[in-house]
Amino acid sequence: MRGIRERRVSSAITIAAVALACSLLMLVWAFKKEAEQSFAGASGGFDAVLGPRGSKLQIVLNALYHLDESPGLMRWSDYEQATKFPAVEAAYPLAVGDNYRGYRLVGSIPEYLQNHEYAEGRSFELESGGSLFASGSMHAVVGAFAARRLGLGVGDTFHPYHGLVYNEGAKHEEIYTVTGVLKATGTPVDKVVWIPISGIQTMSGHNPKAATDVSAVLIKLKRGASMAGFQLDMMYNKQGDRLTLAWPANRTILQFFDKISWFDKILQAVAALVAIIAGGAILAILYNAMNERKRDIAVLRALGARKRTVFMISLLEAVGMTFAGVILGFVVYAGLGMGIGEIVQRETGVALSPFTGNAAMLWAPLGMLGIGLLSGVLPAIKAYRTDVSRNLR
């Protein structure tokens, strides 16, 4: 380890390269997997989303992840019809089109927040002192993340703004009062301001003709009704031409990840390249250092160090440097992971944790240590072959 200390600058650069490679490898593999699982798991306990004719991905992103725009509007009767299918356990209409300071206002029925389980056995809960809105009221329930960001609490009032993007000049006249704040769910629900669906439908300035329209319907099928999804898919997507059913809802988002998998491959290639460069840096720094250290090695040998001892010292130096890089890599990974997680939650509401166990968090550091070990072999051989008598001057 003295050698590492002696060559502070080059060692620090090499350790940083190893840390970067290790953190990139973990981010690309582990964090990406976590993102996929979190996004697929953030389908909010729904099996399907019914929307106007259009892209399934757009419908899912709009209705479940509260991203993107709705491809259009559908009739209230479409929602009512969906509730009547025997295999449908519950269906909830959504209407979108307004925001409050960039956080989306979504209209729905109170039963959604009251009865629905967004994950197995987990219902929405309000922070103490809060209550849900009643249909037709001017009340709002704010998702945990949005409440924190907007600084909203029970009793606060606000004016909605028109559109999905915040525009100071597009303020609606209506005033809504916050009656409740939801506890964090780690799903996109957290970044939404929920109001009664009639609020969106009849907001001042909205087209009166659309006063009964909805943007999408979230559908939960009864347990064991796996064929029902297929039947609804046939009915809406194959036989019908007015509406689109995104079923299964989470597969749509996974298909989206598949579509952008080429980007993963680029990231993977970059990470692998950085790992190789880090290995090359270890090799170069130690190999060059061997030229400066021939005398030291010769002295150690003169003091009785065996050839395999100096070989191991050199090899351990490479492993030590890699190990330091790997430890730093975990710190960088945690920092980047939390930073990215914060951005993802702000943009999507999906909570990502960089600390969820993943095989990549084992093989990436071990792989880097392997690269470090391999990179140390050549300098170690050079140390092993040092001519003692020639270098003892």
């Binding site: 002696e6 010769a298 003169a302 009785g304 160090a305 003692v388 008598s389």
Partner: protein, 231 residues
């Protein structure tokens, strides 16, 4: 029985021109335990090669090198290393301290490959050579004379049977050279360690019980060009 015995020793090197050149040829040489011998020789007389052969750093091509009852030529390289770590101390003209290590760590290195590291002994040796206040100094914080004193302490750290000193005063001014020589000789005496010191300085002759002219001992030296590279 002699501590060190050389019999019909020969060491050759392949020159850059592809010719084998004999650098060391010694018919017979013996050094008793605790004895202090001065080998006098000029550059090119094969003195460094001879010391490296005795230390087992390079293997002799012919003949026998017996140190403390062990035939060095019969040992494999790793066994020679181990034998050197246990039985020999080495003092160099250029001190050869490791710059990344403190004084006390340099002395500890002298014992590290021979078995147990004794920090108390390392401290005691440095105190003995007058560097008790500079245990944690690094070599670049020491004068030339102080560096050589650390090197002397290191050479004695493994309680060797024999100390080899290769021009130990070559880089020192006269007063530091005298201090260094006093220390090497007195420490060897105190520890019952034999000393084989190589120097070209004729003024050292009076300090030793026995002085040998290397050019007479090494029958190959008369054939060698006076090159530093073969020293």
């Amino acid at each position: 029985m002699a501590l060190l015995s050389l019999k019909n020793l020969s060491k050759r090197y392949l020159s850059d021109r592809g010719e084998w050149t004999e650098i060391v040829r010694i018919s017979s040489f013996e050094l008793d335990a605790g004895e202090q011998v001065l080998l006098q020789g000029e550059s090119g007389s094969g003195k460094s090669t001879l010391l490296n052969v005795i230390a087992g750093i390079v293997a002799a091509d012919e003949g026998a090198v017996t140190l403390d009852g062990t035939d060095m030529r019969a040992l494999a390289e790793s066994a020679r290393d181990a034998h050197r770590a246990r039985s020999l101390g080495y003092v160099f003209q250029n001190f050869n301290l490791l710059d990344a290590y403190s004084c006390i760590e340099n002395v500890e290195l002298g014992m590290a490959f021979g078995g147990k590291t004794d920090v108390a002994l390392a401290r005691k040796l440095l105190e003995r050579v007058g560097l008790g206040e500079r245990l944690n100094y690094r070599p670049d914080q020491l004068s030339q004379g102080q560096k050589q004193r650390v090197a002397i302490a290191r050479a004695l750290a493994n309680r060797p049977k024999l100390v080899l000193a290769d021009e130990p005063t070559g880089n020192l001014d006269p007063s530091n050279a005298a201090v260094a020589l006093d220390l090497i000789q007195s420490l060897c005496r105190e520890n019952g360690t034999a000393l084989l010191l190589v120097s070209h300085d004729p003024s050292l002759k009076d300090r030793f019980e026995r002085t040998i002219d290397l050019s007479e001992l090494n029958e190959a030296s008369s054939l060698l060009p006076g090159s530093e590279g073969l020293s």
